[in-house]
């Protein structure tokens, strides 16, 4: 009898083991195979193993899509495509003024460049660059999962609370340490939503909704929406390096970004007026690391992380008056009108630049910019 129970127990254990194995292989990261209803692609960022996060501002949702593009490429070739917007327009059967390139991202594993393109009627198309070839990425019958950013209040919900800020535009996405970070802007409230969402997405989202303030020279404190961000290690501590709609560069210790906390960032640089930060990446050369920032009305800025480190001591005190006009030193690179940039590898980035002759070119920077 005992033997029978033993065999039964073994069979159950075996079955469970098999079931678990089956689950992990068939639904990696909790994804299902289907055709995600992506209404817009306004922000792209890669996660682990070729998983692409697609920020859909229109439906205020982030999709995680398995690109199956997970083969390691140690030596990425330079990417260079001139007049890329015209080439894409012809492939789509339309004219260049009817499309816009919303974002670019590089798969850190395969080093392939991905582009999110939007037609003037709102239809989004995802492209992958392979050498000189621009190929569409199929977003039908793919493995995906998604997370909605807005709580939709029901008709009977009498306490529609102000804490569920409605995202109108996903301004940036980033993945670090098992978490997807999303910054969003609201079309109504002048406020910022910054969420840290564990990936794989689960039904029970542990979303950290943060209120972020930053101080202007220790005197005025304002709510402000984050435009773009990256993460970086400064003096052995991890930080969120964020740039705002009003251009200051602000640091937040990552471990302080917890749900419901009033987190005060420290403004380390103001980088000019009438300007919008577009993308930030961190590049390294030897032991030096640099923050590279593309701007709407300024050249690409390069900030040496060493200069940021120097201000470690004053994290909790008001920003000194001497920061008022300059802050951390930065260098303007001789590269203007960069619409997007993405990190290709440790020392190179891919830039989408409007040249002075009007051509929109995708090209790869060399180490000489570091």
């Amino acid at each position: 009898m005992k033997k029978t129970y033993y065999l039964l127990a073994m069979a159950c254990a075996g079955f469970l083991l098999l079931a678990t194995t089956y689950r992990t292989t068939e639904s990696k990261y909790g994804m299902v195979v289907g055709s995600p209803e992506i209404k817009s692609m306004t922000s792209l960022s890669f996660g682990p193993d070729g998983i692409l996060f697609v920020g859909d501002s229109k439906s205020a949702t982030v999709f995680a899509v398995d690109t199956k593009d997970g083969a390691m490429n140690e030596k990425a070739a330079n990417v260079e495509i001139k007049d890329i917007d015209r080439k894409i327009a012809v492939l789509l059967g339309t004219e260049v003024q009817n499309i816009s390139i919303q974002d670019i991202a590089v798969n850190p594993v395969s080093k392939s460049v991905y582009l999110a393109v939007q037609h003037s009627d709102g239809t989004p198309v995802l492209f992958k660059i392979e050498g000189e070839k621009i190929t569409p990425v199929n977003t039908k019958s793919i493995a995906y999962s998604s997370v909605a950013l807005n709580d939709v209040p029901s008709e009977s919900d009498k306490d529609r609370r102000g804490n569920s800020l409605r995202v109108s535009a996903i301004s940036d996405l980033g993945y670090a340490d098992g978490k997807l970070m999303v910054s969003g802007l609201s079309g109504k409230e002048f406020n910022s939503t910054f969420r840290s969402i564990p990936f794989p997405f689960t039904n029970k989202q542990d979303q950290a909704s943060l209120e972020i303030y930053h101080a202007a020279h220790g005197k005025y404190e304002t709510l402000s929406p984050i435009r773009t961000f990256t993460t970086a290690e400064i003096s052995g501590k991890k930080y969120l390096v964020a740039s705002y709609t009003c251009t200051p560069l602000v640091l937040f210790p990552l471990d302080e970004l917890k749900a419901g906390q009033h987190v005060k960032g420290r403004t380390v640089a103001e980088m000019g007026s009438g300007n919008q930060p577009i993308d930030i990446v961190t590049l390294t050369k030897g032991n030096e690391s640099y923050l590279m920032m593309a701007n709407s009305n300024r050249p690409v800025f390069k900030v040496d992380y060493k200069n940021i480190e120097k201000y470690q001591g004053s994290l909790t005190t008001p920003v000194e008056e001497s920061f008022a006009t300059a802050g951390v030193d930065f260098v303007s690179l001789p590269v203007t009108n960069v619409l997007h940039l993405a990190k290709l590898d440790d020392s190179r980035m891919v830039l989408l630049q409007r040249r002075s002759n009007g051509s929109l070119d995708l090209w790869t920077s060399s180490e000489r910019y570091l």
């Binding site: 817009s40 789509l92 003037s120 198309v125 109108s168 079309g187 007026s273 009438g274």
Partner: protein, 373 residues
Amino acid sequence: MTKNRLIRIRSYPAYGLILFVLMGFCGCSSSSENDQIRLRWRGKAAEGVDIPQSLTVGLPSDSVASLLKVRLVDSDPSVSILGDYSVESKTISFTPLIPFTRGLQYEVLLRNAPVGTFAVPAADPADAPELLGIFPSQDTLPENLLKIYLRFSQPMQEGKSADYVALISNNADTLKGAFLNLQPELWNEDRTVLTLWLDPGRIKRDLQPNRVLGNPLQRGVHYQLLVSSEWKNKLGASLPKTYDKSFVAGLRDSLSPVPAKWKIMVPSSGTRQSTKVEFNEPLDYSLLAESLSILDKNGRVVKGKWEIGEDEKAAHFKPLGSWQAGNYTLQVLTILEDLAGNNLNRPFDLDVTKKRAGLHSDEVIKVPFSVAD
């Protein structure tokens, strides 16, 4: 004559589905319905094209994608449009990744030899969008005005506001950089309401842009906001005219609205009269629509409809049922802002060197009122 030529354009507006250009080749003029290349419509978008197999004789069904091409006329002949082909009994359907563009002409090629062309008609002027409103409505606005809303009758093309919206001061200079060039822009979900932010870096006191350039708006200066007739809706139809709004910049507003000071016109019991709430100042057009509710004595939301009026300085609530004698509460979400971004809990920029008297963190503010017998 071997040149392809356009021989017929037929439109079936009553069906709203079919419009095509029929092609003949080799000078043929006796085409039947079966020879017609037809556009496939979804609403007003040409989402695909049906090519009769009579035009593709000898094309093996398993080689359609490699031998058949649809391309834009006057473009690089080696490039074919990306999309999906499907073979049915008498036709081959091609669905491009994005709908065909209004006003453009396309060509179908088999083994690189043309078999026909088709054109997509330009957008119908009857489908033109309108600009229904520019908010705030008032003609005197605070110099630290934060947002302007444009409300259209139809979904518009995105990412174009910097090209089509201009702010002119004193009828002379176009102000550059007054609005923040945000990409993606801040549209509502159906793409009919756009939020424009005046550069917050210039409004926030003490930030470098504010110190160097000052507010985007200067007190006492007259401005004209222009919305260009070149702006198109999603279908490609332009606004019928250039719209404008004139206003003058007034005093800076650095104070949060205080609901306790608002005036509530109390209705009579037993009636369905509208209740009017006066705010003493104009408030944010978009947030007003969702920030107000009235609760009965049991804390339940009274069903009815809010309407914003008097240049966003008042709102009217019309209940579905009758007012009962007794206590009611006006409940206001604290996210509600005035025209300068001061919400009910905190002003837009807070002077941290001063005492934070009156700073709240509540999610709602409640103002009681009573309906008399």
